[in-house]
Amino acid sequence: MAKAVTLKELSKKELLFAPGHRLCAGCGAPIVVKMVLLASDYHLVAANATGCLEVSSCISDYTAWKIPWIHNAFENAAATLSGVETMYRSLKKQGKIDKEIKFIAFGGDGGTYDIGFQSLSGAMERGHDMLYICYDNGAYMNTGIQRSSATPFGADTTTRPAGSVVPGKTEQRKNLTKIMAAHNIPYVAQASPSHWADLVRKVRKALEITGPKFMNIVTPCNRGWRSRTDDAITLSRLAVDTCYWPLYEIENGVTKITFRPREKKPIADFLKTQGRFKHLFKPENEVLIGKIQESIDREWEKLQKEEACFAS
């Protein structure tokens, strides 16, 4: 078990994701990446799926990454890192490398929930020693805010636009965290940059575990969420406090809620801060907010029951 780290200690560590990257002002992704990299005490190698993070952190000859980093294409961060990690194990066995290295893959929701899902599922099932981190901003933000299977119900996107007939996305989002847990891998967790201590602890814990690990991190995107540029942390906190994004972990099949909001806020508090849900507040659509609330309540209930199953 990795020992806990204080904010003071973290503040003294070198940032491994340098400023000067071209992510938008107010983007949640670099905050998440910085926290993840800061959390580690190991030498790291990262893989990146195509997406905002990848394209904005490696413009031309420049890189924001102060660690070895590999990008291949959109659908295969987990597969690419599988190759890297396997080669590392082989070199280690041959005695050609003695460093302790940990492997982290970063993918957005498009590259993780959708096109990259097959390669992620394969890598997890094969048991590669890696931590896969999905920074979930709920749409294809890099190509212009198209819907993904992580886009929440009711959200307005460019390929599922809200109008007089269709109120934005009419499908539920995929519960990828649970799907990854169903791979029966040793560690799966959900985290949020608003709860940095929880996020850092989860990354540190994951890196201590040998085998495949998956973390899903809510990552606000002001361009796609149509929110203010200084709201990334507020919004990710609201996501947690409304139980839209509960913080929990599933370690060796045992579910544990790691943060319980003192007072569970209504989902409308989260929705009304974002332009992508604006149309839901029209009188004729308000029934949909009720529907969203119902589904959140149900999921939250389910999660608590799951946790209770294992409570001794």
Binding site: T50, I115, F117, G144, Q146, T159
Partner: protein, 365 residues
Amino acid sequence: MKKKILMRGNEAIAEAAIQAGCRFYAGYPITPQNEIPEYLSWRMPEVEGTFIQAESELAAINMVYGASAAGSRAMTSSSSPGISLKQETISFLAAAELPAVIVNMQRGGPGLGNISGSQADYFQAVKGGGHGDYKTLVYAPYSVQELWDLTLRSFDKADEYRNPVLILGDGIIGQMMEPFYPNPYRKPDLPEKDWALDGCKGRAPRVIKSLYMGDGELEMRNIVLQTKYAEMKKREVMADRYYLDDAEIVVVAFGIAARIALSSVLRLRREGLKVGLFRPVTLFPFPAQELFAIAGEHIRFLTIEMNAGQMVEDVRLSVNGKSQVLFHGRPGGSLLTPEEVEEKIRQVCCSHPHPVRAALNRWDA
């Protein structure tokens, strides 16, 4: 009187598809073609068609396979890396003789490349791309007008030949806005889709497949396909010619490169240089005979492409040694400029047509 409208290339394709009766579109986000799915995401439902954003390019093209087998006019679009992912099913579409329209708004490659316009997928488009002996009909529009007109045509040709048709555009032409005439779609007389899997109640079941394991069976299938491609070569070749009557230098270019080269040719014509432009509109079938007819000892060809030299190989094959064929290209999504092309044409003008004779001349001097 017909009125011109102003539209972005990608949106013109999307609307033309609707006009041509396309009622099924499946796509996946990739720059620089996102306007096509975005436009169709709201436009398709208006005409009671189906728009699906798939979870990957693979899923999108396979949805097109399914919709086409069911008899619908179906389309997908993507850009270079996404088109690479679709190749398996393009081969399957060709093998199963299923009509489909596939749009490639090319970007710089190889690999992830960049997102600016490029013409580096020429080989992939015209030589097959996927596995097996097959061809797709390939159109190379050079204006938004042509994007419109050729999209209308593509759906008819796909149905006529029961074959996938590829529209080979690029990032520039897809993003470019220009006025054009939205010519109305007139459906030609096409045979009933008596092969479509639309429910066999009251008729014999139909089979669409690409697996032929019997002895010699697959060879026969291939011969049928090749006969069809030969027919396309006879009937479907399209090319545009500019100032070729007395031209001594013939610039050959397609798509956006032709648009750029045309400016250069016009400028040099004003100076009195005997230069013309030959623009293949279909890349498969390639206007080989047309080029051969122009070729001769006193004519030189200069192929201009936004790649490292792909179509130039077909120009050389067409000319078959009758003329010298030179090349100038910009790979990697770099934009050709009219000045650059002009300069290149001037250089060709000033250089001696015969390298051997040129060498002798130097010797004499």
